[in-house]
């Protein structure tokens, strides 16, 4: 497995540039806004001299280059700055909101995988039959439905019409396990459906392609049982693109949950971002962007390593 370690190290090395790019881009974004952070922090009746003073204290009068390196250094040490508007450290705010988002994203991922992969294999095996047609139509619907509208429709159907399940908010697992799950069901479905439809389609297409290949026939000629062939021969070789897309989408789930969080009043970083946007609290927005961006890069590395393990002939040869 030395090959795998080498591969992993190489990928991490490549990613350093991207991470640096992320931090730089995020830094630059703030400079593009017309708002003046000093004016936001200062009390309403502050004199312009006071505002200037605040500006200097905040280090905003230093040349950009200096501010840039200071920012780089801070972020490298894990310090995402201080929120002007709320007077709280950005790290604390994000750490407070991140678990809720991760929880939802992870649940959506599991929901999507558990349904899409078996269904994709089934559909591929029954290609051309009514089962296949039905699942294809459903997946098309899932792919075409905006997640926020789906969320609202779910709220309309379940809590409003049927009277079960809450309409929003979150309850921690330690407080009440049943309530925790109940609160998670609808947001998970809303967030995970698009994901599920996408992965279903990909799995089905890939499996159909693999089923036609000679090594599958050879495996049958060997007398291997169908379940081993389906999983270790067909699926294992179909999964590479699916895993890649799943990884990409997962990263997008973390930010894309913004809208679903809004619909269900879910206290995650999406909601935090919107609050910050409404109050022009750039340190929070920047902090979230950095966390999300770097998280995405890390997920990509993990996905690549996973793929290298599953299909060594592609990455390591």
């Amino acid at each position: 497995m030395a090959d795998l370690t080498q591969f992993a190290l190489r990928r991490i090395g490549q990613s350093v540039v991207v991470i640096w790019g992320i931090i730089t881009l995020v830094f630059l974004l703030r400079f593009l806004t017309p708002q003046d952070p000093a004016a936001l922090v200062a009390p309403d009746d502050a004199s312009s001299a006071l505002v200037d003073q605040i500006r200097q204290d905040l280090g905003l009068t230093d040349p950009i280059v200096i501010q840039y390196f200071r920012y780089l250094a801070d972020v490298a040490q894990g310090d995402l700055g201080f929120s002007y508007g709320s007077g709280v450290h950005v790290n604390d705010l994000i750490l407070g909101a991140l678990p809720a988002t991760l929880e939802l994203a992870f649940a959506a991922l599991v929901f999507a995988l558990v349904i899409s992969i078996p269904l994709g294999v089934l559909s591929a095996n029954r290609r051309g039959t009514n089962t296949d047609a039905a699942t294809n139509i459903i997946s098309l619907g899932g792919l075409s439905t905006p997640n926020f509208w789906l969320g609202i429709m779910l709220i309309l159907l379940v809590p409003v019409q049927l009277g079960v399940l809450p309409t929003g908010g979150r309850v921690g697992p330690t407080q009440d396990l049943v309530a925790w799950m109940a609160h998670m069901i609808l947001p998970t479905i809303a967030l995970g459906t698009y994901f599920m439809a996408l992965l279903f389609r990909m799995t089905r297409n890939n499996v159909i392609e693999e089923l036609n290949k000679e090594y599958v026939r050879a495996a049958r000629a060997k007398g291997l049982p169908e379940n081993i062939i389906t999983v270790r021969y067909v699926l294992q070789n179909s999964m590479a693109p699916v895993i890649t897309v799943a990884g990409l989408q997962l990263g997008l789930l973390i930010g894309g949950s913004v809208v679903v969080e809004a619909v269900f009043n879910w206290p995650g970083i999406g909601s935090l971002f919107i609050q910050a946007l409404n109050t022009a609290d750039w340190p929070i927005m920047q902090g979230i962007l950095i966390v999300v961006g770097i998280g995405y890069v890390v997920i990509n590395i993990v996905v690549d390593i996973l793929n290298a393990k599953l299909n060594p002939q592609v990455s390591l040869s």
């Binding site: 049958r220 000629a221 007398g223 049982p225 021969y233 070789n237």
Partner: protein, 396 residues
């Protein structure tokens, strides 16, 4: 002439492919026998249907293909006891009539196959050793009666090193790699197919195919993808193994050189039909069918520098049902063709009084000796009528 009954008797096998463009007659009413312990070569150009024939015997035809007619009698006393009497004829069982699960159960135990392109035929994501061990395990479980279940699948996914395969199977896999002359066989077993060269991978495929000690092996173009220098090694390996293990082999190839080295008997196939069958020496040295002659003439003769190579004019005909005629399918390219050839199906006759050497042609063969292409001279009707007869008509 063999004095033991054939291992396989194929009668009127027809395999068609139902495609969007039409129905293709890949194998058109073929009859032949495969004798125990022999290497029968089926020779023909691409598209002649030889590969389809081999796969039909093993039951590996998938949609849009289907075996639409005929019988495949397999001599297996043990199997004959397990199935319905209607499909048994003495020690023979008609594989076309057995339940699919029974047919499938023969794969990897009684029957085995070597595929043409080893890179395409191995799972690139699993080690070679594991894949060979799997083949060993299949046979082992068939003998011990241990059944495959989802527990095995779980073990396979959750534990490293495919714990559902027993240690002995793995050890045997390594032995097999040694048997096929792969150097560093212990290390190689843990490597992946992409780390093997073409020739070595083909040897590994052979190892996998003989892992279950099969009664019958189909080798589909085993040397075609390989460099010429490597081919010789693989051919020798096959010959030796076949001798040592007393395998019955159906060798499918378009390479006459391979046939001359390996085949005991040779069948020449064209457009889904057998044109000539007989001992390899006879067929290659005294071909009677114009197609066979043409085929041999189109090879460069390395001993004589002055002879011209004569290619066969024209193209291989379409196998589409709608386009095939009643008569001989070679008629439009045959130098000896006459009107008689296209009017009706050409007869099958013996050649030079040798009942082993048969030919389907209007113009060749010993006249008046119409026979079937199999070594059975008795008509198929007799087999049907007398299903309880223990006395299959002998070779003649």
């Amino acid at each position: 002439m063999t004095d033991t009954a054939p291992l396989l008797r194929v009668r009127d096998l027809s395999t068609k492919f139902f495609t969007e463009d039409g129905t293709i007659n890949a194998a058109d009413n073929i009859s032949f026998d495969v004798n125990e312990g022999e290497i029968l070569s089926i020779v023909g150009e691409s598209g002649s249907g030889k590969s389809v024939t081999g796969r039909s015997l093993l039951g590996l035809i998938e949609a849009p293909g289907e075996i639409v007619g005929g019988e495949i009698w397999y001599r297996s006393p043990s199997l004959a006891k397990k199935v319905d009497d209607e499909i048994v004829d003495g020690e023979y069982v008609d594989l076309q009539s057995v339940p699919p699960s029974v047919r499938k159960s023969l794969l990897g135990k009684d029957f085995s196959m070597i595929f043409q392109d080893p890179e395409e035929s191995f799972n690139q994501s699993l080690t070679v050793g594991r894949q060979i061990a799997e083949a060993v395990e299949v046979k082992k479980r068939a003998e011990t009666g241990e059944v495959y279940s989802n527990i095995d699948l779980l073990k396979d996914i959750l534990t490293p090193g495919a714990q559902y395969i027993s240690e002995e199977s793995y050890d045997r896999a390594v032995e097999l790699l040694e048997l096929v002359d792969i150097p560093d066989y212990t290390e190689r077993a843990d490597e992946y197919p992409h780390q093997f060269s073409g020739g070595m991978l083909q040897r590994a495929m052979i190892a996998q195919a003989i892992a279950c000690d099969p009664a019958f092996l189909v080798a589909d173009e085993p040397t075609t993808g390989l460099d010429v220098t490597i081919q010789a090694g693989v051919i020798n390996l096959l010959k030796n193994l076949q001798n040592e293990l007393d395998l019955t082999v159906l060798l499918i190839t378009h390479n006459l050189g391979v046939v001359s080295r390996l085949g005991d008997r040779t069948a020449v196939m064209y457009a889904g039909e057998f044109f000539e069958v007989g001992p390899t020496n006879s067929v290659l040295n005294n071909p009677e069918n114009p197609y066979t002659k043409g085929l041999l003439n189109s090879l460069p003769d390395f001993t004589e520098s002055n002879t011209n190579i004569e290619p066969i004019p024209g193209n291989v005909p379409s196998l589409l049902d709608s386009e095939m005629g009643v008569g001989c399918s070679f008629a439009d390219r045959c130098p000896a063709a006459t009107d008689e050839c296209t009017g009706s199906p050409p007869p099958t006759r013996t050649v030079n009084g040798d009942s082993e050497h048969r030919i389907t042609c209007v113009h060749a063969g010993d006249t008046g000796t119409e026979v079937s292409l199999s070594t059975e001279t008795t008509a198929r009707e007799e087999l049907r009528q007398d299903t309880t007869s223990k006395n299959i008509a002998t070779n003649e």
